[in-house]
Symmetry: C2
Subunit: 150 residues, 2 copies
Amino acid sequence: MLSKSAEYALRATIYIALKGSEDNKLGIDEIATAIDSPQSFTAKILQLLTKNNGVVSSVRGPNGGFYLTDAARKLPVRAVLEAVGEDGIITKCVLGLKECSESRPCPMHEQYRYIKAQLRQMFEKTTIQDLANESGKGKIVINNRQIKTK
Amino acid sequence: MLSKSAEYALRATIYIALKGSEDNKLGIDEIATAIDSPQSFTAKILQLLTKNNGVVSSVRGPNGGFYLTDAARKLPVRAVLEAVGEDGIITKCVLGLKECSESRPCPMHEQYRYIKAQLRQMFEKTTIQDLANESGKGKIVINNRQIKTK
DNA sequence: ATAAATAAAGACTATTTTATCTTTTTTCAA
DNA sequence: TTGAAAAAAGATAAAATAGTCTTTATTTAT
């Protein structure tokens, strides 16, 4: 469904939204451990998220780390996908046909149209903060375990 | 969304369903050209479809080629995905969490539950023949052009 | 029986994705 | 103003996916 990069990007972003803030920045080691992802690779992905779209903010040096601005929290989840180049799921044809469109639909087009619209809704209407809120509800989980929100 | 293998598998299967039959078997060159896929690679994928699930039938030698039995035409589209190991789209967690479930849902779980069910419906209720029928309706397309059904 | 046509099988190559490791830059605090 | 802590940047490696090419096996028709 999604690439590893996209999965890590989403999980990291949600985790940062949940546990981080401008005065509690999170280090890459904490993040990668929490979301159960390879550290260096996750660092690379966070770089994408910081520059490509300003989804994630970062500062270097002591007490540096990653956090989300209030504005970033309001971004749609799609922004995360776009930052890692993975929004094809809501833009491309299921059969991979370049010219598939309403006027020249592929054999799955009709069936998929509605589902695609739903996916788009999900990724565009849901904000990063929404996911963090879900995650904060206690029973909900990242990395096979619950995140404690103090 | 889907891998190249899955895309070619679906396109090839639809094409074979539409144009082939037990007494009009299709050669790999015709198929690959029609669906605009790399020939040898498509051959490999058709091998998967013939052995893994019996989705596609084949015979070698002169006048050999690929075709679908009547039984195969009634198979759900999911069978094609399974043959190429690509049914994760309807089985796995969006965030890639192994333990995501109803009782331990990830932050996207609620939102995705319904969509996943729709995807499953689509791939399980739709048969290969259904797609071929769609494709036969004239306006519908594989490989950026219309397939003539004589 | 033989030759030709075809898919199957296997070995190989290329590309992309995923992942790691090292060095550099920035920032803070002492 | 120096040392340490962090992310950024860059170089490299490993694994997975995509793709090609060659040989073999099977089938048919002559």
